[in-house]
Symmetry: C2
Subunit: 340 residues, 2 copies
């Protein structure tokens, strides 16, 4: 069933059917309703390839998933599926398509963006896992592709983005710990060059300053995010060296797993002798023992807002926007109160 047969059935022109379904005002509401009803009945829906060819618009959002680097199977994808789930709500209601590509290495990743633009002709792209400086932004701007970044570069050029409120989250954590009289708060950073990690680390330093606590380099280490065992080793070393530490802030979930191991091996009771707090994830919220107190974020809202922005961008007078997901602390008993 194509538009020709369908319009013949309704004794209307092809044009009228097309414009009725397209939502144009030069079709009376009465006929429009009839057309929509009959389309359902005859199971007619416009051939998307013909539509896209004729209109020159693909109405498709592209996305490249990197299947390398971070431990792709857990951490990375955890947030990923929450994001997708949020996106999905808008996609469905707005009839926008979503096209994913996969890259097994960085060479493939570069190609993927070019393919997305030149071969698959997507209109719009969602960028994720942003680096501190991200060259993909140049590529997209050069090709005049609309995009929303999931995450931010260090220097915000003029583009739209959605992100966790990393600084706000760290502040929330720090205040939470200060309220429980923690003074010697250690920070576990990651070596990888992601901007979210940089933001968190910077916020930690800033918060120390604001609260008149001098930065102590024995309270600070940097670990590989995908290797909890390496983290465990370094954290153990740190805790042995600096016995005054009462709380550990872990920049990522995997290092929190390492922190648990380190504490266990030193026979430090988590939530009694020492506190652990991190960013929420399915890992620390369901799999670790004990479950870990964490700042949680509505990551699905990120996805939803990203798609919303991409759609709004079709308006001529769109101004770049941003969205920060609001953090909140989920207590799971791994943070204790220090006696004054």
């Amino acid at each position: 069933m194509n538009i020709k047969d369908f319009s013949k059935k309704l004794k209307l022109s092809i044009t009228t059917v097309s414009r009725a379904l397209g939502g144009y005002s030069d079709v009376s509401e009465k006929t429009r309703k009839r057309i929509i009803l009959q389309a359902k009945k005859y199971n007619y829906s416009p051939n998307p390839n013909a539509s896209r060819l004729a209109s020159g618009k693909s109405n498709t959002v592209g996305f490249v998933v990197s299947l390398y680097g971070l431990n792709t199977n857990t951490l990375n994808q955890a947030g990923f599926f929450e994001f997708i789930s949020g996106m999905n709500k808008k996609l469905q209601s707005e009839d926008v398509q979503f096209f994913m590509m996969f890259a097994n290495d960085s060479e493939e990743e570069k190609n993927a963006y070019n393919k997305l633009i030149n071969v698959h002709k997507v209109d719009k792209i969602i960028l994720h896992n942003l680096k501190i400086n991200d060259e993909r932004i140049k590529l997209l701007k050069k090709n005049n592709i609309k995009f929303v970044a999931w995450g931010r570069t260090k220097n915000l050029q003029n583009y739209s983005w959605v992100d966790l409120d990393n600084e706000g989250s760290i502040n929330l954590i720090m205040d939470y710990l200060f309220n429980k009289n923690h003074k010697n708060i250690a920070y576990i950073n990651i070596v990888e060059n992601y901007n979210f990690a940089f933001q968190r680390q910077q916020a930690y330093l800033k918060s120390l300053k604001k609260n008149n606590i001098k930065f102590n380099k024995n309270n600070y280490i940097t670990v590989k995010t995908e290797e909890p065992d390496q983290a465990a080793l370094l954290i153990k070393k740190m805790l042995t060296k600096n016995k005054k530490i009462t709380a550990l802030i872990c920049s990522t979930e995997y290092s929190a797993v390492g922190a648990i191991k380190a504490c266990n091996s030193l026979n430090k009771k988590i939530g009694k002798d020492i506190s652990i707090i991190t960013f929420d994830s399915p890992v620390v919220s369901t799999l670790t023992n004990p479950l870990i107190t964490a700042v949680s974020h509505p990551r699905d809202k990120l996805g939803l807002n990203a798609i919303e922005m991409l759609i709004e961008m079709d308006n001529k007078n769109y101004k770049h926007k941003s969205y920060l997901a609001k953090p909140k602390i989920i207590e799971r008993g791994t943070v204790h109160k220090v006696k004054k």
Copy 2:
């Protein structure tokens, strides 16, 4: 740059260019090479919407991701990304597209398949998370859509599938345990209605019989897969009731996490007093403490073979195939030898 301008540049007809890139034999190898070379130079690639419209073939593989039910953020997606990674290799080289849809509930899931077929006009579909009886198979057969199942129904109708060798894996585990003199082997099943779980459980019973061990209902429980804590509770109960148990086979990774908790709370030393073995995953291989001995499978091969089959299906005389991933045991020290 479209085919018209491009062919004009090369002083060739549109037809010749199209057929050269399509790999037809009515173009000399010399001109074909020239065309391919120049296409790269001028960054020409056929508009996919026009191609698909003209040819009537979408050359697209569809996939529906269910964002509900199982704990989507970890378990489910773990295998998922390995699978995708394998698929990707074939997709890239064969120039097949991959189109994903997402479903936040079972209603959306049903709609998704219909949309995939009627709206997005995909040629082929990969089915996953198969139920013991799966009604989606009927839908696809009725609509004459080519598909490969990732997993199997209980009664194999005539279709192509790829799957873990669940029976082989359980046999491998059982023999491995028997060799270490285990006799009282408990089995942790899951309540969910997935066929992989059914196959594993059946294989366990079969293996007992083959080795002349009577099934003991005190060695067998059924838990919810997404709730390690519930699993821990039930396993603890079982171990308290039946003190003779020396080994636990966990049907899924999450129940293995529960098993660890149960053993810890009973002060049973894992790998000394009691053994735990399960199916491999990023969870039990990197996150648990201790890491758990498990049967591992090359899940990326599943994806690769699935795409291979889908492509082969274009041949008129294709006969339905299947592929079983070969299991192997990864020792991580949680299985001990029992004294005779």
